[in-house]
């Protein structure tokens, strides 16, 4: 039980003066993912085959590699922003929330770096 006034509870620690940037980036990345996503799916479907040599040859083309890098980075970023919101919505204990948000950040950075590395390795001729 608390003897604080209801208004004190609602005002809490005040406004964090953030959220605009997050909201705007989520929209920005969402819009960018529409052409990138369509390009990615259509390009894969247009390949004569989906075996290793065909796909690696496709990935080694300059524009393909550039667009793939953009796709990986934009998708990871968008996903990070979205999953973060899901955690904030549903995870309530202060400790659990901090841990979950940290895990979400790490996982997304790992996925993004691994994706970028994979594309670059193939594009720059590192893959057999």
């Amino acid at each position: 039980m608390s003897l604080r006034t209801p208004l004190a509870g609602v005002l809490g620690r005040g406004a964090a003066k953030s959220g605009v940037h997050h909201w705007w980036l989520q929209r920005l990345t969402a819009v960018a993912l529409i052409p990138l996503g369509i390009w990615f799916v259509v390009s894969l479907l247009a390949l004569p085959a989906l075996d290793y040599p065909v796909v690696t040859a496709w990935m080694s083309q300059g524009w393909t590699a550039v667009l793939l890098l953009l796709f990986v980075l934009t998708a990871s970023w968008h996903s990070y922003l979205g999953v973060r919101v899901v955690v904030e919505d549903y995870v309530h204990g202060a400790g659990a929330k901090s841990a979950a948000l940290a895990a979400v950040s790490y996982v997304h950075v790992i996925v993004a770096v691994a994706g970028v590395f994979a594309v670059l390795k193939v594009a720059l001729g590192g893959a057999p």
């Binding site: 208004l7 406004a15 003066k17 959220g19 309530h92």
Partner: protein
């Protein structure tokens, strides 16, 4: 973490059935959530069978009929009985609405009545709206200016300026919208909810107000404002046909626009 089941003391049991009067042929079964904090018992669902002609026109008429002829302990709020006071907001057949302007004839033979969702229940159909009202108070719902009022006249608005606040100002604070919002269910301790945000918007766009910047500052927060995920239940249920979802979207737009 999120709870998927109600706490043990909130789980609903089957209650009493008050059978239809002898010889009734067009029976309406009104199933009502009952909770009495003094009894120490779990909430229950009581069933009241009424002859259709007994029900009257609106759900509120049926509730008053039940209270006066079947069970005088049935507890609910009501006042104006014409959709302007917002007292009788409740969850009727799964939708938050005002009992006084919901026709019994639109609901079929089964009518299920619960208090507004996800609020502490004071008794039966009376929820605790303390936090809801505090959220409204927190947006400072009054005119704030630096310019003194003209000594011999009102603060004037053009017709176009008045029309902007005409609809948002028609909110009756019945709480149908906020309690229909999943984001409000999970985070009402930090998210202000559609009703308070609609009120904030009403003052942000008021042409006479001079605290627009401070009002936007106070909302720029991942929880107070940005827990809105555009689910739009608020607009869907509003008994006054207002559009809190659009008001919130406009606030977000203003916050982006003042950045660049």
């Amino acid at each position: 973490m999120t709870e998927f089941r109600l706490p043990a003391h909130s789980r609903i049991h089957t209650g009493v059935t008050h059978a239809a009067p002898e010889g009734a042929h067009d029976v309406r079964r009104v199933r009502i959530y009952r909770f009495d904090p003094d009894s120490g018992e779990n909430p229950r669902i009581d069933t009241f069978e009424l002859e259709a002609s007994e029900c009257g026109q609106m759900v509120l008429d049926a509730l008053i009929r039940i209270k006066s002829t079947r069970d005088a302990t049935l507890t609910f709020r009501r006042s104006c009985r014409e959709g302007i006071c917002g007292s009788c907001a409740m969850n009727i057949n799964g939708v938050n609405r005002l009992a006084c302007i919901t026709s019994v004839h639109d609901l079929g033979a089964q009518i299920r009545i619960y208090p507004l969702p996800h609020l502490p229940v004071v008794k039966d159909l009376v929820p605790d709206l303390t936090t809801f009202y505090a959220q409204y108070a927190s947006v400072k719902p009054w005119l704030t200016t630096q310019t003194p009022a003209p000594p011999d006249a009102e603060r004037l608005q053009s017709k176009a300026e008045q029309e902007k606040i005409d609809r948002p100002a028609a909110c009756i604070l019945c709480a149908c919208c906020s309690t229909a919002c999943p984001s409000y269910w999970w985070n009402s301790d930090r998210y202000l909810g559609p009703a308070a945000l609609l009120a904030a918007y009403r003052w942000i766009i008021d042409s006479r107000d001079e605290a627009t910047g401070e009002r936007l500052d106070a909302l720029e927060d991942p929880f107070k404002l940005y827990r809105c995920h555009t689910i739009m239940n608020c607009t869907d249920v509003c008994p006054k046909d207002l559009n809190p979802a659009k008001a919130i979207a406009e606030i977000k737009k203003m916050l982006v626009q003042r950045q660049s």
